[in-house]
C-alpha cells in the first residue's frame, strides 16, 4: 500500500530540504530550543492540559470546585445507567469474598494475592481477561534490583520526575515493593531479559539515576499479562473470571462499607448483583475518552469507569487534570494510528517537519512542550499534512538517521517500528513517518493510601485508576511497577480485611440517589450517563441513518 501519490508528492519537499538539514546536524547545529518563557507560552496556548478553554470546574462530589478537562468533568458529573430507586437489591446473583473490578495487570495480581490469602474471588472484566493497557506496554518495568541501586534512589527519581507533586507514602511503597514484584513475577515464570548468569538486563530511562528498567523483549506488558492471567486460570477453584461483564455501579451496605457492584452482561444485556466483602477497583485509564479529539495508545475499554463509580461512592481523586500526551503517535497509515513512536527516533537525530519540509521546533523538548509545538504547527499555522483518512500529521524525518549514522541504522535501532511500517508498504529508512501527539496515560486517579485502601471501608484501588504515585508526570517503567506493587497490596489487604471478619449488611444504592440529587440541586443539566463502557466510533452518516428522530421509543431489539 505505502504512501498515496499525493503524499509521495509532498515527501519530495522533505527530500528537498534534507541535504541542508543533514549538513546542519553534522555541524551539531540545531533548531533553537525554546526559552522558559516561550515554553510557557506555547504550553498555555496549545497543550491540552494548559488551555483554559474546554475546561470546567465540577459542581458536585468530593472534588467539587476542581477544574478538569470537559470530557473528564462531564463524566464526574454524570448519572447512573440504572435508576437507583428501582433496583431490587435483595436478589443476589453472586456472593464472594473479594470482587476485583478490571482484569488487567493490577486486577489480576490482586486476584491472585487475595486467593493466596484464602479468599474466593470474582474478577469482573469489561472485555476478555487481559484486554487492557497492561498488555500493550512495551518498554519495561522499574525496580531497584542492582547492587548500585536501592529503593532510596528509586524514590528520589520518581518524586523528582513527578515535580515533587507525588503522594509520598505511595512512592515509598512503590520503591520498596518493586524488587519484590520482580521476584514474584520471576517465580511465576515470567521470561525477563537476562544475562547468562540470571542477572536481569537493566537500562536507563528518562529521569533515572540508575539503570533500573527490566524488560521482556519489546513486549514486557504482554509477558506480564500472559503470565498472571495464566496463573489466575490455574486457580479456577478460587478465582472466577466473568468476561464482557463490566461493573457499572458500586454497592455499599447500610453501614457504609463497600459491599459489591452491579455488573452488566454486555452480550445478553442483563444486569446482575455481586455481593462481596471487599472490592478492588482496577479499571485502568481513560485514553478512549479521546480528550479534545486526540488519538490514543490505549486499549478499547479505557474509559475511566472506575473513577466515575468511586466518585459517586464518595471517593475523590487527585492529579486527574494532568494527562500524558506522547508527541509522536502514528498519524498514518490508518492501521497504526495513535500507536507510539519512541523518543529514540528523535534521539537518533530525526527532525520534525511541516508540510513544506521545514523545521519548526527543537526535536527533543520535554514531551509536553514538544506536543504543544506540533499541535500549534498543524492547527494554528495550518501547516500539517492531511492524510487520506482525514487525519492531520507532521513529518518525522527518519531517513536522515541513515545519513547521520550510516545505512542500516534505522532497521538495527528500531526493528519493531521498521517492521510495523514495512508491513504497510512504508520503508522508514527511506521515507519519513507521519506523526501527531497521542493521548497516552492518565496521570491522576482515585485517592488511596500506601496500603491501597480508599476512605471507603472495603474498597481498594490499584493501577492506572489510582492517583498520586506519579504526581503530575510519570516516569517510564513506573506504571507497570505500580500495577504489580499496588495490585498485590490491594489483594493482600482485601484478604486480611475479609479474614478479620466482615459482615455485609443490607445492600444499598443510596449513595447514587444522593449523588443524583446533588446533581439536580447544582443545576447540572442533561448530565451524561456513565460509565460509558465503550467508545462509539459510528460516523455521523451512520448515526443519521439510524433515524434517531423518527425512531419510536421502545422499539423491541433496537
Amino acid at each position: 500500500m505505502g504512501y498515496t501519490p499525493e503524499l509521495q508528492e509532498l515527501i519530495k519537499r522533505v527530500e528537498a530540504t534534507r541535504p541542508a538539514r543533514v549538513e546542519m546536524a553534522r555541524r551539531n547545529e540545531h533548531y533553537p530550543a525554546l526559552s522558559m518563557a516561550e515554553r510557557e507560552t506555547v504550553l498555555s496556548k496549545h497543550h491540552p492540559d494548559y488551555q483554559a478553554d474546554a475546561k470546567m470546574a465540577v459542581r458536585v462530589g468530593p472534588n467539587k470546585g476542581d477544574v478538569f478537562q470537559e470530557g473528564v468533568a462531564r463524566l464526574l458529573e454524570s448519572r447512573s445507567i440504572v435508576r437507583p430507586g428501582l433496583v431490587d437489591l435483595n436478589k443476589i446473583d453472586h456472593e464472594t469474598d473479594v470482587l476485583v473490578i478490571g482484569g488487567g495487570g493490577a486486577g489480576t495480581s490482586a486476584a491472585i494475592m487475595a486467593a493466596d490469602g484464602g479468599c474466593r474471588v470474582i474478577v469482573a472484566n469489561k472485555l476478555r481477561h487481559g484486554d487492557s493497557n497492561t498488555i500493550m506496554a512495551e518498554g519495561g518495568i522499574q525496580a531497584a534490583t542492582q547492587e548500585c541501586d536501592s529503593p532510596y534512589y528509586h524514590f528520589l527519581d520518581t518524586i523528582g520526575g513527578g515535580h515533587f507533586t507525588n503522594q509520598r507514602d505511595l512512592v515509598a511503597a512503590l520503591a520498596k515493593d518493586a524488587p519484590l514484584s520482580i521476584a514474584w513475577l520471576e517465580k511465576l515464570g515470567m521470561m525477563f531479559n537476562k544475562h547468562e548468569d540470571g542477572r536481569t538486563v537493566v537500562r536507563h530511562c528518562g529521569g533515572s539515576s540508575r539503570k533500573r528498567l527490566q524488560s521482556s523483549g519489546d513486549m514486557t506488558g504482554a509477558e506480564i499479562m500472559r503470565v498472571v492471567r495464566d496463573e489466575a486460570r490455574n486457580r479456577a477453584d478460587m478465582i472466577t473470571v466473568l468476561e464482557f461483564s463490566p461493573a457499572i455501579e458500586l454497592l455499599l451496605d447500610s453501614e457504609g462499607k463497600c459491599a459489591g457492584a452491579i455488573l452488566f452482561n454486555m452480550e445478553t444485556k442483563e444486569f446482575s448483583i455481586v455481593k462481596a466483602k471487599a472490592v478492588v477497583l482496577a479499571t485502568g485509564g481513560f485514553g478512549r475518552l479521546h480528550i479534545k479529539g486526540f488519538a490514543t495508545t490505549n486499549h478499547y475499554g479505557a474509559t475511566m469507569d472506575g473513577v466515575v463509580m468511586a466518585y459517586r461512592a464518595g471517593v475523590g481523586n487527585k492529579s486527574l487534570h494532568s494527562t500524558q500526551y506522547h508527541p509522536t503517535g502514528v498519524a498514518y497509515p490508518e492501521q497504526n494510528v495513535g500507536l507510539l513512536i519512541t523518543e529514540k527516533v528523535r534521539g537518533l537525530g530525526a527532525h520534525v517537519l511541516n508540510i513544506d519540509g521545514e523545521q519548526f521546533c527543537f526535536p527533543l523538548e520535554p514531551r509536553d512542550v514538544e506536543s504543544a509545538e506540533l499541535i500549534q504547527e498543524a492547527m494554528e499555522k495550518g501547516k500539517g499534512i492531511m492524510t487520506p483518512t482525514g487525519r492531520v500529521g507532521l513529518w518525522l524525518d527518519s531517513p536522515m538517521i541513515e545519513e547521520l549514522h550510516g545505512p542500516g541504522t534505522v532497521k538495527k535501532e528500531l526493528p519493531a517500528k521498521f517492521i510495523q511500517f514495512e508491513r504497510h508498504g512504508i520503508d522508514i529508512s527511506k521515507q519519513p513517518m507521519l506523526v501527531y501527539p497521542t493521548l497516552h496515560y492518565q496521570n491522576g486517579g482515585i485517592n488511596v493510601n500506601g496500603d491501597s485502601e480508599t476512605i471507603l471501608p472495603g474498597l481498594y484501588g490499584a493501577g492506572e485508576v489510582i492517583g498520586g504515585v506519579h504526581g503530575e508526570n510519570r516516569l517510564m517503567g513506573n506504571s507497570l511497577q505500580d500495577i504489580i506493587t499496588f495490585g498485590r497490596r490491594a489483594g493482600i489487604g482485601a484478604a486480611k480485611y475479609v479474614q478479620g471478619g466482615v459482615e455485609v449488611k443490607d445492600l444499598t444504592l443510596d449513595h447514587v440517589v444522593k449523588f443524583e440529587k446533588e446533581l439536580a440541586e447544582a443545576g447540572v443539566e442533561n448530565p451524561a450517563v456513565a460509565p460509558i463502557i465503550l467508545p462509539d466510533y459510528s460516523t455521523d452518516e451512520v448515526a443519521e441513518r439510524r433515524w434517531p428522530k423518527a425512531l419510536t421509543e421502545g422499539v423491541p431489539g433496537v
Binding site: 500500500m1 487492557s132 536501592s150 528520589l156 519484590l180 478499547y300 492531511m386 482525514g390 466510533y537 460516523t539
Partner: protein, 260 residues
C-alpha cells in the same frame, strides 16, 4: 486531497472520515457487502460501515489477540489470516472474525513442577497428534513458527519452544486450523513458564535485595525521605550520581554508598 493550508475537517479519536474524493471499495463482512474507504484496517472499516465491536476488539494495536480474522479474495480459493486491527481492507475481500476458539487448557501447579519436558507431554498428550502439516504456522498473524515450537516441545527442548513462541499473542488461529486439535498456544505458555522458572537461571542479586527489603533495611531511608521538606528532597534529588550508560552490569558503584 492531502494538501491543506487551513484548519482541516479532522478525524478525531479513532473515528475515520471520508475526505472528499477518497475512493471506496466493496468488502463482504460475513458475506454481506459494504462500501468502505480504502486504506482502513478491517476493524476501522467495519466501524465505518456501522458495526460496533463488542467481541473482536481489544488493544487495537496488534498485541492482545482479540481480533483474529480469516478472509479470502473473490474468485480465489486461498484462505488468508490476519488481525482485524492490523490488516488493511482490499477490494472484494470476504471476511469473518474468529474472536474465540474453544481450545483445551490444562491446569497445573508451577511450584510443584520440574524443568522437564515430560510434564508438558503429560498435560498435553495431544502434542503427539501433530502431523506436521504446518497449517498452524501459515495461520499465525505474528509469523511465529508454531510447528517449530510444537516440534521442539515434542523433542523435549523447552528452551527452544519458549524462545520460538515468545511473540505469541494467543489469538487461537493456530488451534483453529489444527488437524490434531492441539491447543498450541496454551502448551507454549506452559513451556515459557517452565523455562523461566526452572531452566533460565534465577537472579541472585534479586534474591539478596529481597532479603534486605524484607529485613527492613530500607525502611528508615524511605521514612526519612517521606518526612523531608521539599527543599531538602530537591537537594537530594539534584545530588544523585548517575550510573554511566555503558557501565557493565553489576560493576559500577557510586561514591556515596550510604544509601545502598
Amino acid at each position: 486531497m492531502c494538501d491543506t493550508t487551513k484548519t482541516p475537517k479532522v478525524a478525531t479519536g479513532d473515528r475515520a472520515i471520508l475526505p472528499e474524493g477518497a475512493r471506496t471499495i466493496p468488502i463482504f463482512v460475513m458475506g454481506k457487502k459494504y462500501e468502505v474507504p480504502e486504506t482502513l484496517t478491517i476493524m476501522k472499516a467495519m466501524e465505518f460501515a456501522g458495526f460496533r465491536f463488542l467481541r473482536g476488539a481489544g488493544c487495537r494495536g496488534g498485541i492482545c489477540g482479540a481480533c483474529p480474522t480469516v478472509y479470502r479474495m473473490a474468485g480465489d480459493y486461498k484462505l488468508h489470516f490476519g488481525l482485524a486491527c492490523q490488516t488493511v481492507v482490499e477490494a472484494n475481500m470476504y471476511l469473518a472474525q474468529i474472536p474465540f476458539f474453544p481450545a483445551n487448557r490444562a491446569s497445573f501447579k508451577l511450584e510443584e513442577m520440574e524443568g522437564v519436558a515430560e510434564t508438558i507431554h503429560a498435560l498435553y498428550p495431544e502434542l503427539f497428534r501433530c502431523v506436521a502439516c504446518n497449517l498452524c504456522t501459515k495461520a499465525c498473524p505474528m509469523d511465529v513458527d508454531v510447528l517449530g515450537y510444537v516440534s521442539a516441545m515434542k523433542q523435549g527442548n523447552i528452551e527452544k519452544a519458549a524462545r520460538i513462541s515468545f511473540d505469541c499473542i494467543q489469538c487461537g488461529l493456530c488451534a483453529s486450523r489444527c488437524m490434531g486439535e492441539i491447543p498450541q498456544y496454551h502448551a507454549a505458555q506452559l513451556a515459557r513458564r517452565i523455562f523461566a522458572r526452572y531452566i533460565q537461571p534465577q537472579a541472585e542479586h534479586l534474591k539478596n535485595r529481597v532479603m534486605e527489603i524484607e529485613g527492613g533495611k530500607y525502611d528508615p531511608m524511605l521514612d526519612e525521605l517521606s518526612g523531608m521538606k521539599k527543599e531538602d528532597l530537591e537537594a537530594r534529588y539534584v545530588a544523585r550520581e548517575r550510573e554511566p550508560d555503558l557501565a557493565a552490569a553489576g560493576t559500577w558503584q557510586p561514591k556515596d554508598t550510604s544509601h545502598l
